[in-house]
Structures are given as structure tokens and as C-alpha cells.
């Protein structure tokens, strides 16, 4: 890859860094979703009934799946 063209090398590096940035953002989002899921589980364990709790849980799972797919694409 190196020495082909300085401009090409520069943009290749930039793409690599952008991907790393995007991956770290995805990781952060995934961590937040995991924390939300754990909070919902804690509410369930305390037998606290919150309206639309199941729907929120499903949404969290869907978002986790989306993030996993995006990570695979990267």
C-alpha cells in the first residue's frame, strides 16, 4: 500500500482512522444499550411495572442487532 502515491496513502490512512472512529462510536452506543438493557432487567427483578417496558426491550435488542450489522460492514 505504501509508496504508491502520497495522496493515496494519506487518504487511505484517513479512511482507516475514520473507520476506527466509527467503530469506537458503535462500541460506545452498544455499551449504552447494554446498560439500558440491564436497567430494564433490574426493574423487572424489582417487579416494577413500567408501561411499554417490553416494547423498549425489543427496541433495544433491535438496535443492538443493527449496530452489530454495521460493525460487520465496517
Amino acid at each position: 500500500m505504501m509508496l504508491s502515491n502520497p495522496v493515496a496513502d494519506f487518504f487511505a490512512k484517513a479512511v482507516v482512522h475514520a473507520k476506527q472512529n466509527r467503530m469506537s462510536e458503535f462500541n460506545q452506543l452498544e455499551a449504552e444499550l447494554i446498560m439500558l438493557g440491564e436497567q430494564i432487567l433490574a426493574l423487572k427483578n424489582h417487579r416494577v411495572y413500567v408501561d411499554k417496558l417490553v416494547r423498549y426491550e425489543n427496541q433495544i435488542n433491535e438496535m443492538k442487532m443493527i449496530i452489530r450489522n454495521k460493525k460487520k460492514e465496517l
Binding site: M2, L3, P6, D9, F10, F11, K13, A14, V16, H17, A18, N21
Partner: protein, 183 residues
């Protein structure tokens, strides 16, 4: 005084209060209280953040690239490539010279023939080998002793030199020139 000479107009106090309020509101919300204004502000903020990220990425890429180039030293690599190219060029020239040297003696010994001439020449050679020899002496009737092993074939003229008699070409005359003769 100059201030007294300026024209001025008396405004009702209510109007001045309204103007002050509008000014404060504009200072607080420069893009207005409407939803579009908030959206524009949010978009500008997002754009700022994205540009900042892009600049950050480019800065890191540049630093990374400089580091890599310092480690790999591209000038030295290019020098090596240049030397290899020179060696390849020299090798090619040497091979071309060798081919030229090989082809030159062949051209001297074998006259160049076109493919059709070469084919005709081959066929004629084959026929001369296949045909039975004519009797050397017609008066001897059927007697045909085979002296083919002992009698060498008559000398064949070189192709292209049949019409020319030996020593036909005049020798070039050499003029004796003096020591200071013109060239």
C-alpha cells in the same frame, strides 16, 4: 452646540419598550423562536462537530503518514529501484548485442532468401537427391558405374554470383597523394 442642531423625533414610550424587548429577544435567540430556527442551529452545530472530527482524522492521518515515511525512508527505496532499473537496462542492451553478434555470421555465410525462394530451394535439393544420376558418358550405353562416392560434385557458383565472371570487378585505383594533398 452640535447636538442641539441635530434633528430628532419624539417617540412614544411604549414603542421604545417594544423595540428594547425585540432587541433582547434577538440577542437571546438569533435565529428566532421558530422550529426552523432551532433546526438550523442544530444543523450548524452538527456540521461544526463533523468538521472538527474530519480535521482530527486528517491530522492523525498526516501524523501517521509522516511516521511511516520516516520509518520506511522512501528516498532510499526509490534509489534501490533506480539501481535495479539501470541493471535491467544494461542487461537488455547486452542481450541485444549478443543477438546481433549471433545473427551477423549467419547472414554472412547464408544468403538471405525469401520464404518462397527458400521453399523452392529445399524442393530442388530434395529432387536432386531423389533423381537417379544421368550417365556421365552417353557413348557407354547401359554401362553406368557408380562413382558417386569417388567423384566430388562440380563446384556450384554462389547464388547471386552466376552472371559475374571472376575478377570482373575492376580494382579501385588508388591515387598517390602527396604529403599535403587535399582530401
Amino acid at each position: 452646540m452640535a447636538v442641539d442642531d441635530d434633528e430628532y423625533e419624539l417617540l412614544p414610550r411604549q414603542e421604545i419598550e417594544n423595540l428594547k424587548r425585540d432587541l433582547e429577544r434577538l440577542k437571546k435567540h438569533p435565529l428566532g423562536d421558530m422550529k426552523e430556527g432551532e433546526t438550523i442551529l442544530e444543523a450548524i452545530n452538527n456540521l461544526n462537530a463533523n468538521i472538527r472530527k474530519l480535521i482530527d482524522i486528517f491530522t492523525r492521518a498526516e501524523a501517521d503518514l509522516v511516521k511511516d515515511y520516516e520509518e520506511n525512508n522512501p528516498a532510499e527505496t526509490l534509489k534501490v529501484v533506480k539501481e535495479q532499473n539501470e541493471q535491467l537496462a544494461q542487461g537488455l542492451v547486452a542481450v541485444a548485442d549478443m543477438i546481433k553478434d549471433i545473427q551477423t555470421p549467419k547472414n554472412l555465410s547464408m544468403p538471405q532468401r525469401s520464404p518462397v525462394e527458400q521453399m523452392n530451394f529445399d524442393v530442388a535439393m530434395q529432387q536432386s537427391q531423389m533423381q537417379p544420376r544421368q550417365p556421365a558418358y552417353p557413348g557407354m550405353g547401359g554401362y553406368n558405374p557408380d562413382f558417386s562416392d569417388q567423384i566430388p560434385p562440380p563446384p556450384q557458383p554462389f547464388p547471386g554470383l552466376e552472371s559475374r565472371q571472376p575478377y570482373e570487378a575492376p580494382m579501385p585505383e588508388k591515387k598517390h597523394k602527396g604529403l599535403f594533398g587535399k582530401r
